[in-house]
Amino acid sequence: MNATAVIAEAFARLPAYLGGHVAVSLTALLIGLAISLPLAIASLRSPALRSVLLGVASIVQTVPSLALLALFYPLLLGVAMLTERSFGASFSALGFLPSVLALTLYSMLPVIRNTIAGLDGIAPAIKEAAQGVGMTPRQALVMVELPLALPVIMAGIRTAAIWVIGGATLSTPIGQTSLGNYIFTGLQTQNWVFVLFGCAAAAIFALVVDQLLALMESGLTRRKRGWVMGGAMGLVLITAASLAPGISQPRASYVIGTKPFAEQYVLAALIAQRLGDNGLSATTREGLGSAVIFDALRSGEIDVYVDYSGTIWANQMKRNDVKPRGEVLSEMKDWLKRQSGIVLAGGLGFENAYALIMRPDRAQSLGIRTLADLARHAPSLSIAGDYEFFGRPEWQLLRQAYGLSFREQRTMQPEFMYAAAASGEADVIAGYTSDGRIVQNKLTVLDDTKHVIPPYDAVLLVSPRRANDEALLAALAPLIGSVDVSTMREANLRASNGASPAEAARWLWSEIQKKR
């Protein structure tokens, strides 16, 4: 895909991404203001409340925004399950709600701190004059103290706005569509135009909001009502314009989930194209975390996605025994049906298992072909894996079975892992067997002679809500058992070398049809 086409694609996604971004950030900012301003004002008369407030807000600020966002998902999931049990009513713990809550918290510190500082900074003589001319404390606050503190308070609000708009890009992994989708998708598919586009769009949006707030501020201090109205109208227009496409667009009937890596984007595009050809409309919810996506399917927030049998086996079924591919699939199918009503429509035909991978020349010089060989040299070697790998049961199994112990262990973005292995920055990486970059970087997969790593068949999972949806199941049927690992590697390689996921998916579909 050439640059013009990538940019055109980026613009095509702008209404949806910007709409989600505006909705989540402005809602969080408004709720944050509605909470922070009264709290800050109340704290003026209570030093105890003030120190608690500033303390809590400062602590919240030290939590990285990504972690703060991620924490709200399990919290809300717990609350949702509780309300379901007690009242029979549940709500979505994914996407909008956790993002708004986390960003609201995030917006509070600058507003609280500046409101307190602004009101504190008013000369005692002015406060006495307000009292002396016969104002009640409330009138003094509204007519004198707040107007005089306004520039400082507005500076806090503007800081909060920029933080929230920037932070909202991180709400993508918990299922909120935002401008962060460009960044996360771009990072996974090495589409740097997307990454830059996402950053620029978020920065421009932040700047525009900041300038509109600045306009309102000078309107308030210079008492130009037109300026205040202009700024407010600008904010309203942005909100309306960015939310309008979401309202006018017909709601797609199916939602396809993806985890945050290239293969998932390609497969989601493939599923969407299959549904489209069958007259079914679909949208994707991109970049969901591994734990988030399964719960999202169970609760019906997404309708279909591709997971891997080993992941379900270890993370959901809590199994640590290793069984052959077929047995794992059939046990899993029963377990899913019984446990949560999720339908395992079938395997796609390839595995995306973890594998320990090395540069061939390095492996050869050390005489390493299998994991048993690796174990002898491991204490002098370094290993790199993704964020999940070293916390997963198969890593424990591998270490126990082969007695693996490395000199150094690092986590990194999967995209950078293969290059790290090729350049020798990491001696061994925990990669994925269907990854096209194994071929691209001419890397060697080490043999798991003891068959410790569980099978990772790519499987199509369908939500309980859609369990009896014949149209959906029929549209998915041609995909079952039709993708072998080398074809998938090739498609993945295309997607990480500049083709859009949709293009890679069309190529994959043409290959599937050739083999029929």
Binding site: A125, A129, Q131, T136
Partner: protein, 258 residues
């Protein structure tokens, strides 16, 4: 004294914590249309005395009455709206125009716009400012003398009968100060006001006031007309205080004879 006291202090004391009292059992009656100056050094309790009248400060013991009514039993906010107050160092609201500053107490009292606008114009003229030039200015664009004239106009806006002034002309240059003092003295008479003015300047007190109260360490140590204090002071400190203006006057006279 024939007329009833407009402001009456009865054994009023004010102390903070365990330290020496700021005000030590003061009794004082201020009569209608009287122009009373309260003179004393810093920390003598003169500002405290003033602020007790409109309840910017609450007494520790004793009773303050305004128009015969115990101020502790009145609504402090409504009380303050009935009493004009000119603050030390102007105290205008910097974000409001001259007109808005002047109209603030009428606005709090719920006057209608037309009445407020008319009153603002009337007061700007009364304190000898220019309606077209000054009405819509912000306080930052006024000179010190103009600012204090607006301060006086603001205090007079809701037609109070009592005016409290805390070192009103202290920060002004001598000429402005003299002119403003004269102008206020005229207004005091024309409007039939009862004025209590705190100052540390005995000469100013003698030139403007009908009656002077001298305070020291929270007590009243002298109370009388300027004439009585000048000619028959009972107390060393008061004599010393009166001597300074007299010496200045004698020196001036000596210069004039040449």
């Amino acid at each position: 004294m024939s007329p009833a006291a407009v402001i009456d202090f009865e054994n009023v004391a004010k102390h903070y914590g365990e330290g020496a009292p700021v005000l030590d059992s003061v009794s004082l009656a201020i009569h209608e249309r009287e122009f009373l100056a309260v003179v004393g050094p810093s920390g003598s309790g003169k500002s405290t005395l003033l602020r007790l009248i409109n309840r910017l400060i609450e007494p520790s013991s004793g009773t303050v009455r305004v128009n015969g009514e115990d101020v502790q039993r009145t609504d402090a906010v409504l009380l303050r709206r009935r009493i004009g107050y000119v603050f030390q160092g102007v105290g205008l609201f910097p974000h409001m125009t001259v007109a808005e500053n002047i109209a603030i107490t009428p606005k709090l009292l719920g006057w209608d716009e037309a009445r407020m606008a008319a009153r603002v114009d009337e007061l700007i003229k009364l304190v000898r400012l220019d309606v077209t030039k000054h009405r819509e200015r912000l306080p930052a664009k006024l000179s010190g003398g103009e600012g204090q004239r607006v301060g006086v106009a603001r205090a007079l806006a809701a037609e109070p009968k009592i005016m409290l002034m805390d070192e009103p002309f202290g920060a002004l240059d001598p000429l402005t100060r003299d002119a403003l003092g004269e102008d206020y003295r005229r207004l005091h008479g024309e409007l039939g006001l009862t004025t209590v003015m705190v100052t540390h300047d005995m000469l100013e007190a003698m030139l403007l006031a009908d009656r002077i109260v001298v305070m020291r360490s929270g007590r009243i140590i002298a109370d009388g007309t300027p004439d009585a204090l000048l000619n028959g002071a009972q107390n060393d400190y008061v004599r010393e205080l009166m001597a300074a203006p007299r010496r200045q006057a004698e020196r001036l006279r000596a210069l004039e004879r040449r």
